[in-house]
Amino acid sequence: MPENEPFEGGVGCGASRRPPPSPAGTGLRGEEPLSDSATSDPASAAPARRAPRPVLRLALLVLALAACVGLAVLVGAASISPGRVLAVLAGGGDPAARGIVLGLRLPRAVQGALVGGGLAVAGAAFQALLRNPLAEPYVLGVSGGAALGAVAALVLGWSAAGVWSLPVAAFCGALLAVGAVLAVAARSSLALDTRVLLLAGVVAGAFFNALIMLLLSLGRAEAFRSAIYWMMGSLSGAGWTETWILALYVLPCAAVLLALARPLNLLAVGEETALYLGTRVEGTKRIVYVATSLLVAATVSAAGAIGFVGLIVPHAVRLAWGSDHRLLMPASLLAGGAFLVLADTAARTVAAPAELPVGVVTALVGVPLFVTLLVRESGRGGGLG
């Protein structure tokens, strides 16, 4: 219905809450683009002052991660004095201490940093891709597939074939899940619809869970126990070889996702907007999906299914420092690593000599932390960013 406004023009913008009411035919700042740029030039100091802040924040996180790794190396079931640990790190030390610090604690801490960082970056990327702050790798069925592969290996006795069989089976399961979810989403709509992707992921996850339960109920009791423990996540199997292999997956995939920070910023605003701002939307979504899936498959096959890191860490970073993915992605990588190293240290020491599954610790610590952040933020009236 055409609106009734034949006389607006004569009245102009009568209320003068703002500078000169713009008569028809001129812009808001009609004739003064030159004076605009002239007067605002001194203000160019402001962005320059703001520029180093992201770098400082990342440097802070690097220090935090280093501190967490340091703590993880210092404490443990065997009591080794800080002096002996430092001697080992300096290149000396007694053989017993060397074995524990360099052979057990350090690779475990490095692996924890890789797994936590990888999961957090994958979570941040999934959240931008699905435009949903509740998305995480687990929602898309990736970890369900990995868990199915690992449980199948345990129950069907493939793990007897060698130490590699379990991670390889988990990896294959994760890729199978990714392929199935992508195929369903691609079949059901012309473009990769994120809502379909989310639904397909949830359904696939439920299906894989059912298959896992089926396998477990048919399997032997000892397989059941190790499968459950593995499903809750643990870094206890970390040696240097596994850690290097994990790094080979995590670091390139994380680098790809970090490089896509600007396209992710655009995708978080909307796919149409992203397209009009120069993003090849479908291609970018595929790259993000494949890179995050590889990342999650690698971490799950190394350390089992550790939940909440991919959800909580990006969310906390976003609440604290805003949603620009150029800061959010590297910050999530570092903070996720620090968080999981800390959680694993707690898992090793709280009930020593017994060891808790680290997934339990991440959930127990992460959920209250998350709730606190959420409540504090909404109390401030939603003033985010």
Binding site: M1, P2, E3, N4, E5, P6, F7, E8, G9, G10, G12, C13, A15, R18, P19, S22, A24, G25, T26, G27, L28, R29, G30, P33, D36, S37, S40, A43, S44, P47, Q127, A128, R131, N132, P133, L190, A259, A261, R262, P263, N265, L266, A268, V269, G270, E272, T273, L275, Y276, L277, G278, T279, R280, G322, S323, D324, G382, G383, L384, G385
Partner: protein, 296 residues
């Protein structure tokens, strides 16, 4: 208000052969046709028009007449089933997405921002096509963002989260993002829908300023017949996917045409002065569907 002669844009001179560019239409559609999968009839059928550089071109039509689809075809978000689109003298298919985004800016109808974002961050996204994934923002980029914020009167709220803006401010913010792109062609999908009087006039005034003195080509889809009449150089009226009329506001906004296309009796009057747009046709819908004919 006539289409005016082709003008050289602010930034037109630096980019390639100026002679060829200023002569070519900024946007041209030729026999454009599109049918959504499983749709009973085509959404667009045989739409042809050209938009000259520096022109303010309005696309009108009832709900479902194919305005937004036309816009998506012009921008390559959808592929046409028939006909062709030329943008700045080149076939649409030969443009890369980023290359296109450096010269054509779009303000989409709807956006649902998923995460907290400051106004300045949103406007700075207009520089992404110029920067690509890697390059850091330079002083020129920061200046473009600052100027776009100032032009849209948003400098004071630059640091605020977009979630705290009013509908009018948010729309101005999206327009500022498009201005930060420093485009030669600006495309808007119903930019003034649900805005109050002042914001509506501000946006139309800004578009007029961009198109006229500054030589930016502006294509806008709108339901606001009267504002389009006052501000646009030429109009395209769509009716069920076909073009009902193309031409100056006086040519398109005729009583018979509007009544046929919208299926509602209207009266067309002339805008009283003062102002540069005095005499522009203004459409008023009558109160009841079966109005006595003598009123018209």
């Amino acid at each position: 208000m006539s289409a005016g002669e082709p003008r050289t844009g602010r930034r037109g001179a630096g980019a390639g052969a100026p002679g060829a560019r200023t002569r070519a239409a900024a946007l041209a559609a030729e026999g454009l046709a599109f049918r959504y999968p499983r749709a009973a009839r085509p959404t667009l059928d045989g739409v042809s028009f050209t938009v000259a550089p520096g022109e303010l071109f309005g696309v009108l039509g009832p709900n479902g007449s194919g305005k937004s689809t036309l816009l998506r075809l012009l921008l390559g978000a959808l592929g046409a089933d028939g006909g062709r689109v030329r943008v700045l003298g080149r076939d649409l298919g030969t443009w890369g997405r980023r290359e296109l985004a450096r010269r054509v800016a779009v303000v989409p109808q709807h956006e649902d921002i998923a995460f907290p974002l400051s106004v300045e961050e949103m406007v700075a996204m207009g520089r992404y096509p110029h920067l690509g994934p890697w390059r850091a923002e330079g002083p020129g980029d920061r200046r473009a963002v600052r100027e776009a914020l100032a032009r849209c009167d948003l400098s004071a709220v630059a640091d605020r989260p977009v979630s705290t803006l009013s509908g009018g401010e948010l729309q101005l913010g999206r327009l500022a993002r498009a201005l930060a792109q420093e485009p030669e062609v600006l495309v808007l999908d119903e930019p003034t829908v649900s805005l109050d009087l002042r914001h509506r006039m501000e946006i139309f005034g800004l578009l007029k300023q961009l198109a006229g003195p500054e030589g930016t080509t502006v294509l806008l889809v709108t339901h606001d017949l009267n504002a389009a009449s006052r501000f646009a150089d030429r109009l395209l009226l769509l009716d069920g996917g076909r073009q009902a009329a193309v031409g100056t506001p006086a040519q398109v906004l005729e009583r018979e045409t509007i009544e046929r296309v919208y299926g509602w009796p209207v009266r067309v009057t002339r805008l009283p002065g003062p102002g540069p747009d005095a005499g522009a046709p203004q459409v008023t819908a009558l109160a009841t569907r079966h109005a006595p004919k003598e009123i018209a």
